[in-house]
Amino acid sequence: MSIIDLKGLLVPLGALKQIAKEPHTIKYPDQTKEISERYRGFHYNDLDLCIGCGNCSTICMNEAIDMVEVEGIEGKPGDSGLRPRIDYGRCCYCALCVDVCPSGSLSMTADFIKVSEDAFDFLMIPGKDNPDGKNKITFDASTDTSLNLFERVPMRELPPEERVQSFAEVFLGYTEEEARIEASRCITCGLCTENCPVHMHIPEYINAISRGDDEEAIRIIYDNNDLPEMCGKVCTRRCEDVCALQVRGEAVAIRWLKRYATERAENADMIRRIVNPEIREPNGIKVGIIGAGPAGLTAGYYLALKGYDITIYEAKSEPGGMIMYGIPKYRLPYDSIQKQVDYMKSIGVKIHFNTKVGKDISFDEIYNKHDAVFMGVGLQKGYTLGIEGEDAEGVWAAVDFLGLVNEGKRPDMGKRVVVVGGGDVSMDSSRVSRRLGAEVVQLYRRRIVDMPADDEEIEGALEEGVQIIEKAIPTRVIKDEKGRVKGMEYVRAELVPPEGGGRPRPVPIKGSETVIECDSIIAAIGQKADFGLLPEKVQNSLTFERGKIKVDDERRTGYPKLWAGGDAVKYGRVDAISAIADGFYAAESIDAYFMQVKA
């Protein structure tokens, strides 16, 4: 180093002036660090909002998140009852778990200091172990920043003005591209499976669709549902009610995806080729089934696969029961049912049509001819309104009306039809009446939002020009001199919350009577079963509850070797998928029964 390089030696000494400056650092613990508004510290989980879907656990590649039971939290439909527990020895604070949380319950907080000698203290259940974290949330995911896709691929449909012209199918189905996109939204949590009466393998077949393997999807679907195309079009889709994405957005269109997949199989032969089911050797055991509705067909199909000799007795000339005669063709076309039934026939299910039990053949004969009997007779009789003048010509029970139309008849409903009720059947009645060219007024005793009907049906009816009068109770049918319907009188109601809590009760407002002129009235206020086919001794040994047969978990009745399912039993809900579940589990039970007998 040369001595004359004085500058190079002196200049660095300028650093000394920094001595007088305030330091940058904070003086912990007197001063604490100011935490950013987006800081990713320890997690916080809103335990009430969390649905235990486990998506956080799935995305975490450090395997820092386990789903565990938490005291005080019970599983329920749409909630697994589990909550994430985080191992902070593994967590890398990447917050992917936050960004994929469909409910938005998981977030991160400003806390990042924890001192403990016990390693297990670092296994924390966010929300339970740090309830104060709620006020310190710094990093969360809104529906905009979340990695979940909350918007459903819209279903293409006919415009309302075109719909009312014919019975053409309203929904047009997903294209391949649409189905792939919609299927990719699924987070595979399986909450849907739990809420499906027959516990279909929903995430699995949606995965197959998103992978582009439609045939695999069909195979998975047929594992426990033999009428999937029907379900794909008209299922009440309780699965979508509990979809993890519906907490903050739109549920995955599970029904439409099932429809997409099953429609890839264009005919019975194709279904047979794709599903290629394993059919066991005939075991010689004969099972008789009463009613070719969803329950009966399902029991028949799954028993036939297990090698049983199946004969179905059906009163009508076509298979399907309510799905054939109750559901209008614009929702479920004839060919679609026929295709699925043809496939079942190819497996070996025999169906005797036009054979009404109790008339063409006696129950005893069937019972004696077979080793076991499954009964799925459904609800064939409509409830009557129970008001003055109901016997007038032009007053219909919805089931009869829909049955007639589905048989291809076109009854003259006149210019204006009044439909009474708020369920899916009432919506079907209204929309069919519109297609028959009538003006439709629908009366419901509560509000539209209280209607048990599917929102999609209500929306469809309104689009098609059905006028719905809320909070209206019919009081009298007005007849003309020939005994024909001339009009209907109804009173307005107000909704009064009952003392014990629960659904508000409609109470008539005095003096609010109004009359609507009309040519026909359709009562769609529910149906009941007709057990006239059963001999007295059988009826006596069955237990009935509110006009329905009581069965156990395996769908056994109180009568030996008699199983029952579908709408006519008191188990689960009244819809097609519940009937399928009844048929499916009855088939398992019947098989288990004979396995035991053999052994």
């Binding site: 500058k7 200049v11 660095p12 940058h24 950013s36 800081y39 896709l149 595979t188």
Partner: protein
């Protein structure tokens, strides 16, 4: 393997620098054959840090790997995220909104500045000048504060990902960034007084660790070491990505190829980065910051491959990514500048140097072991 002849054995001895040594730039080791104070031969030994990142990424889906990418190299997590994200976008053909491109540019340049501030500490420290390191690492925290505000984390941001960036700029962040840049710009003079005006550094750095200009490209030198040999190659200029094509900046070039020239390049790079960020903040487009990817658990990329490179802090880094049409990459390969600089270049330029200059030269090359062991 260093082979020694009998006569050599009498005069020469073997020294190990690292893997536990304050002068080493991470978990690696340089094995030296020395004669007196002079290095005769040098060998870089790695293997102390192998985490199989490339293989681990191949086990993860296209999004999950972003928690690993930033961990390749602690001082510069963002270029890794940026490069991999661009590779994924290239395979998928995914568009990135203009706003995201500008935000990415800012993040990449902030990453450059903070990394160079850390380098100041290492370079000065290995010459025995400890004060500067304390200043620059302190000042670096202002940038980490900016990252914390923007991304939620100080070091491992996981912020740039396919389709754009993870969150939009927070309110007031641009102004805060401008204030930090103004402050840093003033501080650069203080750093100069402590380092470049310092006779100790001048004497230690000038003429030491020379990369010959005619060999630089042949050896695969990139980044500041290349610009220090007088060759102004820079991916940001040569193949502009993000918003670089729309911004005005210069590539600092110095002749000499020694530690001194490389240090000057880095000093000037900070100034250029400040210039780039200011422009990007001024020109920041509106609109979306993120072209939303599908559900990450079911996100399949079309089959294909991509080679994408960016100008990272140390030089050119590139990702070679192959997709076979599934949720996970078939193959991921990282080419980092540190691999060349820390192994082949280092081994070539150390012979003839003083032992005391080994870590000094190593720091000037910017060797980062995790980038060598992927």
């Amino acid at each position: 393997m260093i082979m020694k002849t009998t006569s050599e054995r009498n005069k020469q001895t073997t020294l190990f620098i690292g893997p536990q040594h304050p002068g080493i730039t991470g978990n690696m080791m340089v094995k030296l054959l020395v004669e007196g104070d002079t290095v005769v031969r040098a060998e870089t030994h790695i293997g102390y840090l192998h985490r199989a990142f490339e293989k681990l990424i191949e086990q993860r889906n296209w999004l999950q790997s972003f928690t690993l990418l930033c961990r390749f190299c602690v001082p510069e997590p963002d270029p890794m995220e940026l490069t991999y994200a661009r590779a994924v976008e290239a395979i998928e053909g995914r568009e990135v909104p203009p706003r995201a491109k500008y935000i990415r540019t800012i993040v990449a340049e902030l990453a450059r500045i903070q990394s160079f501030l850390l380098w100041y500490g290492g370079q000065a420290g290995s010459a025995g000048l400890y004060t500067l390191g304390q200043w620059t690492v302190g000042d670096r925290n202002y940038i980490l504060d900016l990252f914390e505000d923007l991304t939620g984390a100080r070091i491992y941001h996981m912020y740039i990902w396919p389709g754009g960036v993870r969150r939009d700029l927070p309110k007031g962040w641009a102004d805060k960034t401008r204030r930090v840049l103004d402050y840093l710009e003033k501080r650069l003079d203080d750093y100069n007084r402590l380092l470049f005006d310092n006779a100790v550094f001048q004497k230690r750095a000038q003429g030491v660790g020379i990369i010959p200009k005619d060999k630089a490209l042949e050896w695969g030198v990139t980044g500041p070491p290349l610009k220090g040999t007088g060759i102004g190659n820079d991916v940001r200029k040569d193949e502009p990505y993000c918003a670089y094509g729309e911004l005005d900046f210069d590539i600092p070039v110095y002749e000499g190829g020694d530690v001194w020239a490389r240090a000057l390049v880095r000093r000037d790079e900070i100034k250029q980065s400040i210039r780039i960020i200011r422009q990007a903040l001024d020109k920041m487009p509106g609109g979306s910051y993120y072209n939303r990817i599908p559900n990450p658990m079911k996100w399949r990329l079309p089959a294909g491959e991509a080679w994408v490179k960016t100008e990272s802090v140390r030089g050119e880094i590139g990702f070679y990514v192959v997709s076979d049409g599934t949720e996970k990459p078939r193959r991921v390969h990282l080419r980092g500048a540190a691999y060349t600089h820390g192994i082949s270049v280092l081994e070539k330029i150390l012979p003839g140097q003083n032992i005391a200059d080994v870590s000094f030269i190593l720091n000037s090359l910017g060797a980062c072991p995790p980038e060598m062991e992927r």
